[in-house]
Amino acid sequence: MATASFAPSRLSAWLIAATRVGVALMWIDNASWKVPPDFGRGESPSGLYRWTLNGVEHEVLAPWARFVEHVVVPNFGLFGWAVLLIEASLGALLLIGLFTRAFALLGVVQSLAITFSVLNTPHEWFWAYLLMILIHLMLFATAAGRFGGMDGVLRPLWTDRPGPLHRLMKAAS
């Protein structure tokens, strides 16, 4: 399907930026309950640990449930730090619109991991997780950081400079 270059109107550019900031706020909001160093482990599981156990107790995909049970749970300290790092970074960089396409893809991966863990947990609305995946795909497709974000400011600098690092940063934006 051949299309013209995507050049949104001023209103659409603002809406793309607002959507990016809204998604960033979702990740920012949810960083607060991934609390180190135990991340909810204890006699009465809570927080991230409780939600991770849901992936085993309310299996969505058998291989994922086995992975969580035999790899994630026994190494939960490392896993907890990885989740906090990923989600805090998603909030931070989507907010300022830096390397937005790369972080939108990371958002898809993280949303898939969450979906495979909690989709069958009682009282969860499955569309919420599908929408999380779809909105990150939309941020990727629109290269949302180029509208009111740091990518829009910095891409001309990366374009003007040679070398693999600048090419990588340009691709990530």
């Binding site: 706020l25 990740w27 805090a88 909030g91 907010l95 290269a143 509208f147 740091m150 829009g152 891409r155």
Partner: protein
């Protein structure tokens, strides 16, 4: 009046975002209180946000650099506070995530080379 350089406009926007985050001081926002700001973190948001905005308005890199370093230090302090089981800044890990973004943005706004090109927000995602 000359339009500010895109990197200066970025510093202004990031500074104003920090000041705008003071809306989350209001606990009545309930589930819409996306992050915690209170006590010492109010000063962090206000002082560093004002410094970043002033840096952008005056086109000076050093205050933007200092504001970026300040936000990075505040984010690190919030993480240390959480690890210690304390609440030194009246903030939480969501605030840390916000400050991390502001830090990265301001450090880039301060350190990136300046050109005369003003193409921010106009390039389509075709390549």
């Amino acid at each position: 009046m000359t339009r500010p350089h895109p990197l200066d406009r970025a510093a202004i926007a990031l500074g104003l975002a920090s000041i705008a985050s003071l809306v989350f001081v209001y606990e009545g926002l309930d589930e819409f209180r996306f992050l915690a700001i209170g006590g010492p973190s109010i000063a962090v948001a206000l002082v560093l946000g004002a410094l970043a905005a002033a840096a952008g308005l005056t086109g000076r890199r050093v205050p933007a650099l200092l504001a970026g370093l300040g936000f990075a230090a505040a984010a690190a302090l919030e993480l240390a506070s959480t690890l210690a089981g304390e609440d030194w800044l009246g903030a939480n890990l969501s605030t840390m995530s916000l400050w991390l973004g502001l830090a990265v943005g301001l450090l880039l706004a301060a350190a990136a080379p300046r050109t005369g090109t003003d193409t921010a927000g106009t390039e389509p995602p075709s390549h």
